[in-house]
């Protein structure tokens, strides 16, 4: 075993340039995948925040007592799919209207009675926001005693929903294509690298080496190439983060909202190790005597 390690390190060193190229290739591959995955992660994060903008308004009947209102509120809040419910009194509604009329609010001055109904503004849990779910929820609200009418932006909901699924689907496709592409590139790099060793493997076999003896140094070599590739990609990512991303976020505020999945980056050496080992195992294939 110690000899296998020595053997692997020796041959890594003996062809250091070409091995270094492979390491860089794998590093680039890993970097590209992580970059894409984290971009898509961010886009999905954004898509997932969209439903927070959606709300339902339940208008209350006139002349409810405070107790009745309380009762309605609590019966709404009891439902599982509710994130928040806010009571808007008649007075609040008027204030809002006045604010929205701006300088023209004097039109309301002549009124002796507040004509606006009280209402409850309901925000649903993100995962519950969907065309059918919201419709059935609204219908169930209408049946509550004391609720006059229920309104929500059906069009907004529909376009929101299709946008969200669209982003998620494209993201998924992109991720799958990218990852399989890069995995293939890593495989092919290792394969080409080991293709050159066909003669060496042949000689080892003729000298009486067992499969294990032949495989071990190659696997170690592949593992080292992969792991170092992963480490290089982390270094490049960190350099990129501090030199570009970090500085940019001062001038371009949106960037501050971007989530940099640190764990993902820190796992790259392990991913590289895994890729390198499986890559060299597959590249060698079945050793036949």
């Amino acid at each position: 075993m110690t000899y296998s390690i020595k053997l692997a390190l020796q041959s890594l060193w003996h062809e250091k340039w070409i091995n270094f190229l492979s390491m860089l290739t794998i590093a680039m591959g890993l970097l590209v995948v992580t970059l894409v995955v984290s971009s898509i992660y961010n886009v999905n994060l954004f898509a997932r925040k969209l439903p927070e903008k959606f709300f339902i308004v339940a208008y209350l009947k006139e002349g409810l007592t405070e107790k009745e209102t309380q009762h309605i509120m609590s019966s709404i809040k009891d439902r599982g799919s509710i994130a928040r419910a806010k009571y808007i009194s008649k007075a609040d509604a008027l204030k809002e209207l006045k604010a929205s009329l701006k300088d023209a609010d004097y039109v309301l001055e002549g009124l002796d009675e507040n004509p606006l109904p009280a209402s409850i503004e309901i925000r649903m849990k993100k995962e519950a926001v969907g065309p059918e779910a919201v419709k059935s929820f609204a219908d169930s609200l209408r049946k509550i005693e004391g609720i006059d009418d229920v309104q929500y932006g059906e069009k907004f909901l529909l376009s929101l929903h299709s946008m969200k699924t669209g982003m998620e689907t494209i993201g998924l496709i992109l991720t799958v294509v990218m990852i399989s592409g890069i995995v293939f590139i890593c495989y092919s790099t290792v394969k080409i690298l080991f293709y050159r060793r066909k003669d060496e493997i042949e000689t080892l076999k003729l000298l009486g080496a067992t499969r294990g003896f032949i495989r071990t140094p190659f696997v170690i070599e592949g593992g080292v190439i992969g792991a170092v590739g992963g480490i290089i990609s982390v270094i490049i990512a960190a350099a990129f983060y501090f030199s570009v991303f970090y500085k940019l976020s001062a001038t371009v505020p949106v960037i501050r909202a971007v989530v940099f999945p640190t764990e993902l980056f820190l796992s790259l050496p392990a991913v590289g190790l895994f890729l390198g080992i499986t890559g060299s195992l597959i590249a060698m294939g079945r050793i036949r005597f």
Partner: protein, 220 residues
Amino acid sequence: MINFQQVSKFYDTATALRDINLSIEKGEMAFITGPSGAGKSTLMKLIYAAELPDSGRITIAEWETDKLDGATIPQLRRNIGIVFQDFRLLLNKNVYDNVALALRVRRIPEKEVKALVLDALKMVNLRHKTDSFPSTLSGGEQQRVVIARAIVGEPIIVLADEPTGNLDPDTAAGIMRIFKEINVRGTTILIATHNRELFRDTGKRVMRLDNGNMVNEERG
């Protein structure tokens, strides 16, 4: 030790061996000769199971070569030391590691390896090239590394395919002395060569192949 019964080997375009019968005893030293392309190397390849016969049976010590599998072929080969006609040195390893490889595949502890390798290199007069890489060696030096690798593991059979093709007569005589010495200690040795000097006056069996046929057998 080495036994061929009616062995034939055909390649796509050429007949390499036809109906060969051969029997070499344990501890014997024998020679194969014959013109270029006669089938000498093919016969050797059949012994170490790099090729399988198209017909006939080959028995090496306790092994029948066409009944071997991935687990037993390495066992057979570890008992055979081979001087390949085309050397088969690993270019990315130095002389020491190339020779040591024959011991390492046998899982011999690293602390024993060193003494054995340096001994073998001293025998072939290459102690001063221990750290050189094959590409910086002369043709004859490379050939001697291959010889050292074949004998270092003290195998029970040594197969030497044209072992002196790149060696001057004096060095060749030195190599033959080594072969004789390990033969005396019990190793079975089979040498394929064009060089009549090697078997002249040895009194050993010399088998002559021509175009795949065993044409005659004489004493050197």
